[in-house]
Amino acid sequence: MPHEATHPGYGAMLRRIGAGRLGGLIALVVLIVIASLLSDRFLTVPNLLNVLRQIAIVGILAMGMTFVILTAGIDLSIGSILGLSVVLYAGLLESWGLPVAITLGMLAGAGAGLVNGIGVAYAGIPAFIMTLGMLSFARGLAFIYTGGTPIPILDETFYNFGNGYFLGIPIPALVLIATLLASAFVLGMTPFGRSVYGIGSNEEAARMSGVPVRLYKTVVYVISGGLAALAGVVYSSQLGIGTPIAGQGYELDAIAAVVVGGTSLFGGKGSVWGTFIGTLIIGVLANTLNLNGVDPFVQQLVKGALIVVAVFGMSRANRT
């Protein structure tokens, strides 16, 4: 490199890139240290496995949300799509059997995502409105399908999937990790993933570069809807019920995890690894507050403050 001399930068540059995630990791580690000091129950294997199981649902949702947010979009409908898929699993299980029920439910989730995607990418409806509409629509469908009453799920296999362990790790946590790895692969190693970043960074430029912007934007919502349905599998198998109110408000939790994980809401910057760390931060926070029996009203207060502090601290850490 001819200009090595002027730019002693490589090391510095690397450090900066690393730091983009380092901030999140530091925040997580600090939180874990504090949590272990506050309660000696925190750093026990069962509790840590608990945390992993607890974050699975929002974590999976947040992976899908990361795709969407990377394109500078947003998906408010994932909580409702989860709810819709959940009642479908429960409702179809008995008469059609597990595989069909799961397939149809997942298709419904991906289908709802497809509608979102077409609305956003082809009809040009702002993502916020399109998915807000879907939030209402899918929830309405779930209610109509069930008549408002939850449907119990009595399938042992399914129950064991949601509550069992594999190699000592809760299965929902494994689903989350598999989702993480697959998402990281797609985003990092495929032309599609690369283009997702490009679209979020400058949609116009991506279009000019020949990226099939509308198609890819659509796919991103399909992924998000599909992963919401996958989170629905974890939800309903864990809880043994298909309730039409499942997942209400989860979209905000998922967005919070994504943003705490360092992904920019303006698109083009971030990663699913960050989202995973963000999910962990929020999960550990909730766990610690519970372990220490903090007054629930005060929990709300503390949680609000701590998320802000975490993001602030992270951005500081990333600056230096």
Partner: protein
């Protein structure tokens, strides 16, 4: 004002001493002295990435210096924000246009210092009147109430200049203001600069066009790799002196090779788009460069956009290698082998917060993909080679492209267009903001491509560039083909005459 002139000859209006600035360990400016005096036009020249923009960002309060001091009229000062700088009469026009696209031209001009009524509301009448006066004095023909996002880049640049003037500056800093202007507007701008200088302003002028430096500047400062490598009154130096200090090497004299054209590659027949251009017909052959000349606003960019499917033509046909094609989007264009290098780098070219590497390959990911998976090693090797070939200067291919200097950004985008190995390449203002060294390199690149049989459409407001590269020149005037000139017929004069002729 004239009374103060003598005193301020001694004390510069604005100066920095021992200035140092680095970004996360990357030294961009070191130990720099620089001063602007009243009634003087000070040129700042240097290669892409030399640190010119960084220096003026320090002057404008955008960046804080790491080392050294800044003096305003002899007084050590800290400029904490552009607002501070403006309050001290230091006005900077950035290299990257910075206007609010949704606001009207008049509002952009007065953003930050709106004239107000006695009730504290915006004095719209006064604003309109003063805006009209300003635009008039710069002969800018736009409706001041139109959102500037709808204006062409050149018009936006003129609005920026109008804004700067409205601020009643003591020091005016212009970072490559002429890059997007055609000859006519450059002349207007220079007349204005002369006027302001006579009024006692200190002016800093950055340009890669050295002849412009000789045309209007009194002194020149040369930067190289963040250090001052020369400073002199303009009368005492010549172009070679400048180039030597900027680059430290010479260019081989330009020798044009004879070209052999092949079959027609791209043919336009009666292409029209209502309100933008009409009945545009011309052909480009394999191995040929067709220059598209014209004044700003003549519709050249619109034609290019129609070719690559960014705008739908209302009439006419596009033929590619003898076959009629319909191109709906740039993706299709790319698949057909047509590549377009846009004129609006920031809005349509850069993926600002993505690394150089990704910016370079976004159009050509297919060539690094096997079984749907990217081969990151292959990509890295390719980009490293490309960076070397185009002499892109940055800390590395992992740097976000927005941190590169303007010229280096442009080189990466050229690399992007080349990576798809196009058969037809449309380049729109390819050397805008590019230093003279890099310019030569880009010309060489274009010539290499042509030699390999690529058909090239060259849109450029730089007469010299068009003349030097083109085999034929199509001159557009108000959306219509005014004339087509062969290489022999073409000269600066013939082009200007048909481009500017009154209808």
């Amino acid at each position: 004002m004239p009374l103060k002139l003598n005193a301020s000859l001694v004390t510069p209006l604005l100066a920095v001493r021992g200035l140092g600035k680095s970004f996360s360990g990357n030294v961009v400016l070191s130990d720099l002295d620089f001063a602007v005096h009243a009634g003087e036009v000070q040129a700042l020249v240097g290669e892409n990435g030399a640190g010119k923009s960084t220096l003026i960002k320090v002057l404008g309060g955008v960046y804080q210096p790491d080392r050294g001091e800044l003096l305003v009229e002899g007084e050590p000062t800290r400029l904490r924000s552009p607002r501070d700088a403006l309050a001290r009469g230091i006005v900077v026009i950035q290299q990257e246009l910075s206007l609010a696209p949704h606001l009207s031209a008049e509002e952009n001009i007065f953003l930050g210092h709106f004239p107000t009524t006695r009730f504290g509301t915006v004095a719209r009448g006064e604003m309109r009147r003063r805006a009209a006066e300003l635009l008039d004095s710069l002969s800018i023909e736009i409706d001041p109430s139109v959102p500037v996002g709808r204006l062409s880049i050149a018009q936006q640049q003129m609005v920026e200049i109008a804004k700067a003037i409205s601020l009643q500056a003591k020091v005016l800093v212009l970072d490559e203001p002429t890059a997007v202007l055609d000859e006519k507007r450059v002349a207007t701008l220079f007349a204005l600069v002369a006027r302001l200088k006579a009024q006692g302003l200190g002016i800093v002028f950055i340009s890669h066009h050295l002849e412009e430096v000789f045309r209007i500047c009194d002194r020149v400062t040369v930067l190289r790799d963040g250090r001052k490598t020369g400073e002199a009154p303009i009368g005492e130096i010549d172009q070679e002196w400048l180039v030597a200090r900027m680059i430290g090497r010479d260019f081989p004299a330009h020798a044009r090779q004879a070209r052999r054209f092949g079959k027609p590659a791209l043919e336009l027949r009666g292409l029209s788009r209502r309100g933008e251009f009409e009945d545009v017909s011309f052909a480009v052959h394999e191995g040929e460069i067709v220059g598209l000349a014209g004044l700003v606003g003549a519709g050249r960019t619109e034609v290019a956009r129609a070719i690559v499917g960014l705008a739908r033509p209302s009439a006419g046909t596009i033929r590619l290698h003898g076959q009629d094609v319909r191109i709906d989007d740039p993706g299709k264009a790319a698949r057909l082998g047509i590549s377009y290098l846009t004129e609006d780098r920031k809005a349509q070219g850069l993926l600002p917060n993505r690394p150089v590497r990704e910016n370079a390959t976004i159009s050509s990911l297919g060539r690094f993909t096997r079984l749907g998976v990217l081969n990151l090693v292959k990509e890295r090797i390719y980009v490293r080679e490309m960076i070397g070939k185009l002499d892109v200067r940055s800390a590395g291919m992992g740097t976000e492209i927005r941190y590169l200097s303007g010229g280096n950004q442009q080189k990466v985008l050229i690399g992007r267009a080349l990576a798809v190995e196009p058969k037809v390449l449309i380049v729109d203002e390819p050397t805008r903001g590019v230093d003279i060294g890099a310019k030569q390199e880009i010309y060489a690149l274009i010539e290499q491509l042509v030699a390999r049989g690529v058909a090239i459409v060259l849109i450029s407001s730089e007469m010299e560039e068009v003349l030097r590269l083109s085999d034929r020149i199509v001159v557009l005037r108000r959306g219509r083909v005014a004339t087509t000139l062969s290489r022999e017929e073409a000269s600066e004069e013939t082009i200007m005459r048909s481009a500017a002729l009154a209808a």
